[in-house]
């Protein structure tokens, strides 16, 4: 049994201006101890999916239309508020993109970490303080800094503190939403390295949300590529990187300037991401796709297994035409 299994999850935001179809029937699973990279550009629905898992979609305007989120076999969408609170921060915890705003500016860093420990272990304040100082040491911050306020920390240190907070209760699943995007590249390397080590140490699984294929290559075991609220390609890391099949995935790889090869011109995907409030019919990517044929503009396209454990949402790939 997978640790987390998402079936046909659909999340929309219903506003006066129209319905934003953020997530449209995604299926994915994360095995215990593995890291899944969820890759996509702005507005692909990555963060909404993550918040959906934790039951933190703001309602209204958010609305879960359909689907199942099975965590250790139990459907989180059917869980009570109290049950969800027991899971959040304890079994599943989350690291957010912007460390500058993720910490409460008027509470001491140590107290913010102790808080989650007290909430889930019910231990005394003194024990929690001791444990939170230990967590800070683990992420490379001296224990006496626990009494500092967030504004006294640098960006990298804040993110380390957020990670300490997320890992304080040894979660089974860690969701990291662009954890290093706001950091400089040398700090990013430090933080990623540390996250990898801690994850292995604790035996947690991780859902890593990112737009950076480089980070995926270095961190993940499996990869899911998201486009316009759908997963267009999913499979083991090696399969996706050695044998990318979906035209969008190929386009992403073509857009990145390479450090190894000399490419004079990049091969970007033409056009723009469709407006999630006004998605095209048929394959969501067909308007930007070089291989699109007339059929692509209508009907629905299903994920299709092209090789063992490698799924692609493209009719022409499924038909063996490209």
């Amino acid at each position: 049994m997978s640790l987390l299994q998402i079936n046909d999850l659909t999340i929309h935001y219903v506003t006066r201006g129209g319905t934003v179809k953020a997530v449209n029937g995604i299926d994915l699973s994360i095995e215990a101890g593995r890291t899944l990279g969820l890759v996509g550009e702005t507005g692909a629905g990555k963060t909404t999916s993550a918040l959906g898992i934790l039951g933190l979609i703001p309602k209204p305007p958010g609305k879960i239309i359909s689907g199942q989120i099975l965590f250790e076999g139990a459907d989180l969408l059917k869980a009570s508020q109290g049950k969800m609170r027991m899971i959040r921060g304890n079994d599943i915890s989350m690291i957010y993109q912007d460390p500058m705003t993720a910490l409460n500016p008027i509470l001491r860093v140590g107290d913010q970490i102790s808080e989650v420990i007290i909430q889930h272990s019910g231990c005394s304040k003194a024990e929690a303080r001791e444990k939170s100082e230990g967590m800070l040491e683990t992420v490379g911050i001296r224990a006496e800094r626990a009494a500092d306020y967030p504004h006294q920390f640098s960006g990298g240190m804040k993110q380390r503190a957020v990670i300490a907070m997320a890992l304080a209760c040894n979660p089974k699943l860690l969701i990291a939403d662009e954890p290093t995007t706001a950091l400089d590249v040398t700090i990013q390397a430090q933080v990623l390295e540390m996250m990898r080590e801690l994850k292995d140490e604790l035996g947690s699984s991780m859902l890593l949300i990112t737009h950076d294929l480089g980070i995926v290559a270095e961190t993940c075991d499996d990869v899911a590529i998201m486009y316009a609220g759908e997963i267009v390609e999913i499979g083991a890391l090696e399969r996706i990187f050695h044998n990318p099949r979906h035209p969008y995935t190929l386009g992403l790889f073509g857009s990145i300037p390479s450090l190894d090869k000399d490419v004079r011109r990049l091969n970007p995907i033409p056009g723009l991401m469709p407006d999630p409030a006004d998605l095209p019919s048929g394959c969501k990517f067909h308007a930007r796709c070089a291989h699109a044929c007339d059929d692509c503009g209508s009907g629905s396209t299903e994920l299709c297994e092209t090789e063992r454990g490698h799924f692609v949402r493209c009719r022409r790939v499924a038909g063996g035409e490209i």
Binding site: E41, V185, T186, E193, L213, F253, P257, R265
Partner: protein, 319 residues
């Protein structure tokens, strides 16, 4: 082609409540016409300030800027404004760099109006030409920036910079706010424009893969100083300064077969407020020795065309 711009010992210091900030400290380089100089570094290294000092948007504290053979360091306001026709800038944030109350037409025409160039009908024609040139559909002429996406906004910024037909453009992180697929479109556009119009760029960025792709030469900055400068290819093949090595090994590469030398850098960048007389990189350097703590290194040509400022550069690289 010949030299277009040269900077000599350029310095920019800011007074802050906690002391003097050496944002740009003794930077020298020269760019040939038609080339691109990439300036890379982490946030707070002074790269954006350098771009603005060269454009004279910020007055340098010390040093000289020579543009087209003329010293433009100390010029009158009038000459400074005349310089705008030759030197332009493209900004990082396509949201805040466009006046929200002006239409696309007005935004692109604004530089032309400032210099009272052309009749109004010609100006309109010129704006449409510029829009074609940057790949912005003419139907957006009366749109407002907030109605457009980041990529299109950045195209407006490019068109505005090109309106006065400059020879030299500072690109200040022009693609960092964009998604990868849009980023690639803009990078291609900038390259095409450079080829068509013989533009010279200073390309300021923190993204090493972008800078490698677009630059002829690369200048690596760290806390206001230049640590290494050489041809783009050489920098990636033979990085010599420990900071450059660390920076290169820190980039996540989307290639799972590549095995790389790892140089881990400790700690974080500190801001150059009242720097001590030592190598500014010493606290993070895995190769630091006593001399690094005693005096700042000099910037010297280690190989032909390859400048490094490090006391131990020869020992580290086995030269």
């Amino acid at each position: 082609m010949g030299e277009l711009l040269r900077a000599e010992h350029l310095k920019k210091y800011f007074k802050t409540p906690s002391g003097v900030l050496h944002a740009v400290d003794d930077i020298s380089f020269s760019i040939d016409s038609g080339d691109t100089l990439g300036v890379v570094g982490e946030s707070g290294c002074g790269k954006s300030t350098l771009g603005r000092v060269i454009l004279k948007l910020i007055e340098p504290t010390d040093g000289r800027i020579i543009f087209e053979g003329r010293d433009i360091t100390r010029v009158t306001d009038k000459e400074n404004i005349e310089l705008r026709r030759k030197m332009q800038i493209i900004f990082q944030d396509p949201y805040s760099s466009l006046n929200p109350r002006m239409s696309v037409m007005d935004l692109i025409a604004d530089p032309l109006k400032t210099f009272r160039l052309q009749s109004s009908a010609d100006r309109r024609k010129k704006v449409f030409e510029l829009m074609d040139m940057v790949g912005l559909s003419r139907r957006f002429a009366s749109s407002y920036p907030h109605e457009l996406d980041g990529g299109r906004r950045q195209r407006i910024g490019v068109a505005r910079a090109l309106a006065l037909e400059p020879t030299f453009i500072v690109c200040d992180e022009p693609v960092s706010a964009l998604d990868v697929s849009i980023q690639a479109q803009i990078l291609n556009l900038l390259q095409d424009l450079q080829e068509q119009q013989g533009l010279t760029y200073i390309f300021v960025t923190h993204d090493l893969s972008v800078v490698k792709h677009i630059s002829t030469d690369i200048l690596v900055m760290y806390t206001g100083i230049m640590v290494e400068k050489c041809e783009a290819k050489e920098l990636f093949a033979k990085p010599m300064h420990p900071y450059t090595k660390g920076l290169l090994s820190a980039i996540p590469v989307p290639n799972i077969d590549r095995v790389r030398e790892k140089v881990a850098l400790r700690g974080e960048l500190t801001s150059p407020v009242e720097p001590k007389p030592e190598c500014r990189f010493v606290a993070r350097c895995p190769f630091a020795t006593d001399i690094c703590r005693r005096e700042p290194p000099t910037y010297s040509e280690v190989l032909a065309g390859h400048f490094v400022s490090c006391h131990n550069v020869r020992e580290i690289n086995g030269l």
